[in-house]
């Protein structure tokens, strides 16, 4: 039985009872409990099932290293899978469900896997791949999927809010134990800006539990005064519940603050992701205790020794009345002492070392605890709960000497510094034989942009394992961090009473000569069910690299990322390969240290502000008119304005017909508008465009093409000459920012001595295309300027007023109709748009969207960047040779277009297509050709680029690229279709409508 003790518990408030539920069972805990402590206080040791064999799993640890005790928390919109009970603070109303069990936690059918263990050896995934393909798909995958899987995916939209925040400091201290506090005190006193992060809700780390004595008093007192002193420093920021997740280049650190995990629904953000730029990073991240590998070390009730005393001291929770301690070091004796002091029984301490000396064993002996030196656990007895241990000699093969009844086992295989953050950016490790662990190699730190050490590890995280050593090391590290950021620091450490500990002894298998039956019950990775025998099998099968072995066996690949299993696993691997541990090395440490919720990574980016949506001044009008919007870059543009009862196709056709016969209005505000000005502006534009822009007369417009250096068509648009030194370049809607950056790139990096300035004024102006036979009538009705053919002919522009609005009117047409594009200041855009609609009612005005725009331009044979071009098309392919100057010495793309492949007459070129049956060629179709290529694919001779039903011509029309281009006019070709078969089409001139331009030039 695990239970609540009647006294003690430094973190709990016995007057504040809290109700929670586990698998629907109502339970009570205390304020200050972790969920793990509260579960144990209710004797709920069994919390889940393992991944592969569905073995019963209990709570092993008391911190973020916990591999087993993962639960689903909350419900509905606040459901979260894989929550670690050891780091979850209890709150009133908490609901938790165990995971990976079916049909119930107590009775699990998947446990049958347990007896099938020999069919699921290390690397079983890969081995199943080797069977016939059908076996994987029909046999293995369904079985594995049905029985595996930790946690359910949330189904509802997350009810919580998340955010991110930026912070800056000279010294970032990660870890709020005594080492972190000491480093912060020294760095803070220097005047440096310091941020201290602690992942739990409490300062002080392990020291108060371990009974450390600092400055002659229990560690608690020193921790309290240190936190108070830091709180008074204006240059120091303290944050609890904030986990340093990852260290990145240039002193960048991500940290996750759990603001409202313990107060769900209180309106605060649930988590906040901190993005911190630090001068120096001090990692005071402590150490993690290692399990010992003995048979049955995964049976619920077997726990880490230090975690056992965490539960006793912090929460007054005992894991059982009788706890056997098994160890290879002196530290575990603290657990025996703590249990004894709490009035609990310690039947024996099983110490693998032959000689047991040191202060702590002496104290344990004095308390009357039986110490068995040179002994080991042969196996743990029990199924869903420990009932006893069988004892043997460590040096032997596991012959049982004695069985000891107990209900918990506290194990300690030594301590591994938490080197994750040190390692994220390339900090190297050194193997410390004294403590049998990897610790940071101070001579090979991760370096910053100046080549200087960016991270300084201190305390346990640096291998300084006693309180006294940790404080001294942390003071030094804190000072070094402050000095490195140009502050004058004084190395002043608090003094802790030194406790003499005898050396530990590396023990990787218990007993050392254990046979295969025992090794098949020694768990390394509890969550992923990887055993000593699996790693040894991998080694036998030739997996010599630790990275390969990890993936082959899945060791350390679970949600705990091998915090308990990595060192033990690679020690087993090293042993199997007859190599030293440092030669085998570690797997790569990658962020985050513990899982960061996706909500925090997304931050504010969800819902309405998932991404910036660009809106024109008329956007609200479009939405009010029920426009169907489509994305164009980050803009949202009306695709069509359907009326009640209309399909989109019907409304698009209505818009086309109305524009061709009456009057259509298009919101063209998204069109890119870039001012280019200066004495060299003409020369500059002649380089940018394939045609000549320098000789464009003031007041006139000219269509132009831009290519990249390779010669491929990049953008197009109408250029207007504003004055002697000023041109206005229109770009495509999606291209404005890109073309502006392209211009600046050339001006800043290549032609920096040319006198040209640019300004992107796209958003300064709202622009409306007034299109159709009645266009002039509408403008004349508004009045204010002469828009007659004589004063304002095709391809000219003029400034003036219309209906009182200050306007610039361009006579340009993308539809083939009489058309004016009218620019007004954006803040008048909505008013102008509405004025046009009001005044235009008598002329049959209707708004039209992008689809009608596309159809009308296709009817006219106008190309569209992104339809007729795809980055592999040159203007010549589109019969646009007329827009390419033959006289200019150079322009961007000229040289590229001269390359033989692009200059070849063999290229696919633009033509029009009319289906023989009037149908519409499917989008994406290829024109089939005879025969097959080397890959056995049917040959092609072209492809469709734009294809529409033309409401004007009442038939399907298409533009496409075809071998031979316009020379093929009259041929009948076949386009393939999605459903198979082909559709026949005649090659025609791509200008389907008003080839002479009579309609636009009126």
């Amino acid at each position: 039985m695990s239970t609540r003790l009647s006294r003690g518990g430094r973190l709990i408030d016995r007057s504040a009872s809290q109700e929670f539920s586990f698998n629907g069972k109502k339970l009570r805990g205390l304020k200050g409990d972790t969920l793990a402590a509260a579960l144990l206080a209710n004797d709920q040791m069994l919390v889940g099932r393992s991944f592969k064999y569905h073995r019963p799993r209990g709570i092993v640890a008391a911190g973020p290293e916990e591999p087993n005790a993962l639960v689903g928390m909350g419900r509905g919109a606040r459901f979260e899978p894989n929550q670690r009970v050891t780091t979850t603070e209890l709150f009133n109303g908490l609901e938790a469900q165990s995971q990976n069990h079916w049909p119930s936690l107590e009775f699990d059918v998947g446990v049958i896997n347990n007896s099938l263990a020999r069919f699921l050896p290390g690397g079983f995934y890969y081995k199943t791949f080797m069977y016939p393909r059908a076996a994987w798909k029909h046999l293995f995958e369904p079985i594995i999927r049905a029985s595996a899987g930790l946690g359910k995916a949330p189904k509802d939209r997350d009810a919580d809010r998340y955010e991110q925040a930026y912070a800056f400091c000279d010294v970032l201290v990660i870890g709020g134990g005594i080492a972190g506090l000491q480093a912060a005190l020294v760095a803070g006193a220097s005047g440096a800006r310091v941020i201290v992060l602690e992942q739990t809700a409490h300062w002080g780390g392990r020291a108060p539990v371990d009974g450390d004595v600092i400055e002659g008093a229990p560690a608690d007192a020193w921790v309290k005064s240190a936190v108070e002193a830091l709180g008074k420093m204006e240059n120091v920021t303290l944050r609890v519940r904030t986990m340093g997740a990852g260290v990145y280049d240039h002193g960048y650190v991500l940290a996750e603050e759990k603001i409202a995990d313990h107060t769900p629904g209180d309106g605060r953000p649930k988590h906040r992701l901190w993005r911190i730029r630090a001068g120096r990073i001090v990692t005071a991240t402590g150490a993690i205790e290692r399990p010992l590998s003995f048979a049955g070390n995964d049976i619920p009730g077997v726990m880490l020794a230090a975690s056992v005393r965490d539960y006793v001291v912090n929460f007054a929770v005992s894991p059982g009345d009788r706890t056997v301690v098994v160890t290879n070091n002196d530290d575990a004796y603290r657990t025996a002492i703590a249990l004894k002091e709490a009035g609990l029984e310690v039947p024996a301490i099983i110490d693998a070392r032959v000689s047991v000396t040191g202060d702590l064993p002496a104290r344990a002996r004095a308390m009357g605890i039986r110490i068995e030196a040179g002994r080991a656990i042969a196996k743990v007895k029990g199924g869903k709960r420990v009932t006893g241990v069988a004892i043997c000699i460590q040096a032997g093969e596991g012959s049982v000497l004695e069985e000891i009844a107990c209900d918990a086992v506290a194990m300690s295989g030594g301590w591994s510094p938490v080197v994750h953050l040190w390692s994220h950016c390339g900090g190297k490790l050194v193997w410390d034989t004294t403590h049998a662990h990897f610790r940071p190699d101070a001579t090979k730190p991760p370096t910053n942009q100046d080549g200087q050490a960016m991270v300084i590890a201190v305390g346990n995280a640096n291998g300084a394992m006693s309180a006294a050593d940790a404080l001294a090391d942390a003071a030094k590290g804190g000072a070094a961090a402050a000095e490195a950021t140009s502050f004058k620091a004084e190395v002043k450490a608090a003094s802790a009473t030194q406790v003499t500990e005898a050396p530990m002894e590396a023990v990787w298998i218990m007993p050392q000569g254990a046979g295969s039956a025992l090794k098949a019950k020694m768990w390394l990775d509890y969550q992923n069910d990887v055993k000593v025998s699996d790693v040894q099998l991998a080694a036998r099968e030739g997996y010599e690299s630790v990275e390969h072995t990890k993936r082959y066996t899945t060791l350390g690949m679970a949600t705990d990322q091998g915090k308990l299993s990595n060192i033990n696993g690679l020690a087993i691997l090293a042993q199997s390969l007859n190599e030293d541990i440092p030669q085998v090395g570690t797997t790569t440490f990658r962020p985050p240290y513990t899982p960061v919720t996706l909500g925090a990574l997304a931050g504010e980016s969800r819902g309405e502000i998932f991404q910036p949506l660009r809106k024109t001044p008329m956007h609200a009008w479009h939405e009010a008119q029920n426009a169907y919007m489509e994305p164009v870059g980050l803009w949202r543009r009306p695709y069509t304005f359907p009326r009640a009862g209309e399909t989109h196709e019907q409304s698009v056709h209505r818009e086309v017909n109305n524009t061709r016969t009456n009057l259509g209005l298009l919101d063209a505000s998204t069109l890119g508008k870039i001012i280019v000005k200066g004495p060299d502006a003409g020369k500059f534009l002649d380089m940018l465009y394939t045609g000549v822009m320098s000789n464009l007369p003031v007041g006139k417009c000219r269509y132009g093409l831009m290519c990249n250096e390779q010669g491929f068509l990049s953008d197009d648009g109408v250029v207007a000459r504003i004055d002697e030194e000023t041109w206005l370049c229109h770009t495509t809607s999606g291209g404005a920012d890109r073309i502006h950056a392209w211009m600046e790139d050339w001006l800043q990096c290549e032609w920096w001595d040319w006198k040209v300035y640019t300004a992107n004024i796209t958003e300064q102006l709202a622009q409306v295309a007034v299109v159709g036979p009645n266009a002039r009538k509408l403008l004349e009705k508004l009045g204010g300027m002469d828009v007659s053919k004589e004063t304002l002919p095709f391809m000219q522009w003029a400034d003036g007023t219309l209906g009182g609005f200050p306007v610039r009117v361009y006579r340009i047409s993308f539809s083939g109709e009489l058309s004016y594009e009218i620019a007004v200041p954006a803040s008048l855009g909505a008013a102008f748009w509405e004025a046009l609609h009001k005044a235009g009612a008598e002329f049959g005005t209707m708004p039209y969207g992008t689809e009608a725009l596309h159809i009308m331009r296709a009817e006219k044979g106008f190309i569209m960047i992104g339809d007729e071009t795809d980055g592999t098309v040159i203007p010549q392919d589109l019969n646009l040779g007329w827009a390419i100057s033959k006289k200019k010495a150079d322009f961007l793309g000229k040289r590229g277009q001269e390359r033989n492949y692009l200059a070849s007459p063999d290229r696919w070129k633009l033509a029009g297509f009319e289906t023989l049956d009037g149908s519409v060629v499917p989008d994406g179709s290829y024109i089939v050709a005879a025969g097959h290529n080397a890959n056995g694919q049917g040959n092609t001779q072209g492809r469709v680029t734009s294809t529409y039903y033309s409401p004007t011509l009442k038939r399907g029309i298409a533009m496409g690229l075809i071998h031979g281009g316009l020379n093929r006019i009259g041929d009948v070709v076949e386009f393939n279709t999605v459903s198979g078969g082909t559709v026949k089409a005649k090659v025609v001139d791509p200008v389907f409508y008003d080839k002479d331009g009579a309609k636009q030039n009126v």
């Binding site: 809010r161 955010e163 991110q164 925040a165 930026y166 912070a167 800056f168 800006r193 920021t237 209180d266 309106g267 605060r268 953000p269 906040r272 993005r275 730029r277 931050g603 504010e604 980016s605 309405e608 502000i609 991404q611 910036p612 949506l613 660009r614 809106k615 024109t616 001044p617 803009w635 001012i675 000005k677 200066g678 004495p679 006198k755 300035y757 640019t758 300004a759 004024i761 796209t762 958003e763 300064q764 102006l765 009182g804 609005f805 200041p825 954006a826 803040s827 008048l828 909505a830 008013a831």
Partner: protein, 182 residues
């Protein structure tokens, strides 16, 4: 007919107050700092000195900000840009420069309150403790470009007009009561 700001002066009150203001008169002036007549042009347009690198100089309801090594932002009442452009043209006659009105290309917000900086610290990678008075900070707010500067009462933030509602959403999200950083 009257000019309307991008969001019709939308407001939100959380732990800081957010207001969309404007339209504000703005001119983008591109010129090298050593251009003869530049000081006279800026003085004529907004009555200030040429701003130093990363600074904004204010003069009542007018200001001049440094945007880049060859770009300045002139701020003035909305209706006065035409006259200012004329003054600039006069002062820089014959010189190589570009001046364009961009008042309508922008949305302008005020973020006010004792913790106004915390709203922005959630959106912009800016060290607010080191942001100097009269510093014009060009940066980003979440996914879009932004520029801001602070005065005694708070911050003025400028972004592109098309993303005004995105910006309002960001500021509203960040200023929610209960989400103060300290």
């Amino acid at each position: 007919m009257s000019e309307v700001s991008a969001l019709n002066h939308a407001k939100f009150d959380g732990f800081a107050s957010i207001r969309e203001i404007g339209p504000l008169g703005m001119i983008t002036l591109r010129a090298k700092p050593d251009l003869p007549g530049l000081a006279e042009a800026i003085r004529a347009a907004v009555g200030t000195e040429v701003p130093a690198t990363r600074r904004i100089v204010t003069n009542g309801d007018k200001a001049a900000g440094w945007m880049s090594p060859d770009e300045y932002l002139l701020i003035l009442p909305y209706g006065e840009t035409g006259a200012a452009l004329a003054a600039i043209a006069a002062a820089l006659k014959g010189q190589h420069y570009l001046a364009e009105t961009v008042s309508d290309a922008r949305a302008v917000f005020r973020i006010e309150g004792a913790k106004a900086d915390q709203v922005l610290a959630k959106l912009s990678p800016v060290d607010f403790a080191r942001l100097e008075p009269n510093e014009l900070r060009r940066t980003r707010a979440a996914q879009v470009a932004a520029a801001f500067w602070k005065d005694e009462a708070g911050y003025t933030l400028v972004c592109f007009r098309s993303v005004a509602s995105y910006m309002m959403g960001l500021l509203t999200h960040s200023a929610q009561n209960g989400s103060e950083l300290v």
